[in-house]
Amino acid sequence: MLKGKKVIAIGERDGVPGPVIAECLGGAGLEVIFQVTECFV
């Protein structure tokens, strides 16, 4: 599924922020190549 993929983490201000996603996936050994926190309105 995610194994071997380069991951783009798009967090949301009212959900899970990008840096948290990146930290969790990085801790899983995945390569996060971009992370950001968007504000969906």
Binding site: K6, I8, G15, F34
Partner: protein
């Protein structure tokens, strides 16, 4: 999705190949997740950003989906995601994103 981030994702897809990428979202509601997923699979639905007419077909997941949570180390899951998993209803997003992945 804002235009700056669309541009960055387009550039990364050009650099690495979209087939080598996955997007993991952290949206708090299914509507936002659906729009973001559409943007990186079918192209910008507003037809205004850099991904307008660019169907990258990148598979999209939500960080709180079981498949993603399962790979996150337990300590990080408890410290960083447990609270979010209590307040965010992930099921509607799982349905939207699973449908999006099945269309790829």
């Amino acid at each position: 999705m804002n235009f700056e981030n669309q541009g960055i994702i387009k550039r990364l897809a050009d650099q690495y190949g979209p087939e080598n990428l996955a997007v993991v979202l952290g949206n708090g509601d299914a509507q936002g997740a659906e729009v973001f997923a559409e943007t990186v699979t079918q192209g910008d639905p507003t037809y205004a950003g850099p991904l307008a007419g660019v169907p990258l077909k990148i598979p999209v997941y939500h960080v709180l989906e079981d498949e993603v949570m399962a790979v996150v180390p337990e300590k990080l899951r408890e410290e960083r995601l447990q609270l979010s998993s209590l307040v965010i209803d992930v099921e509607p997003m799982r349905q939207v994103l699973q449908a999006s992945r099945e269309k790829l």
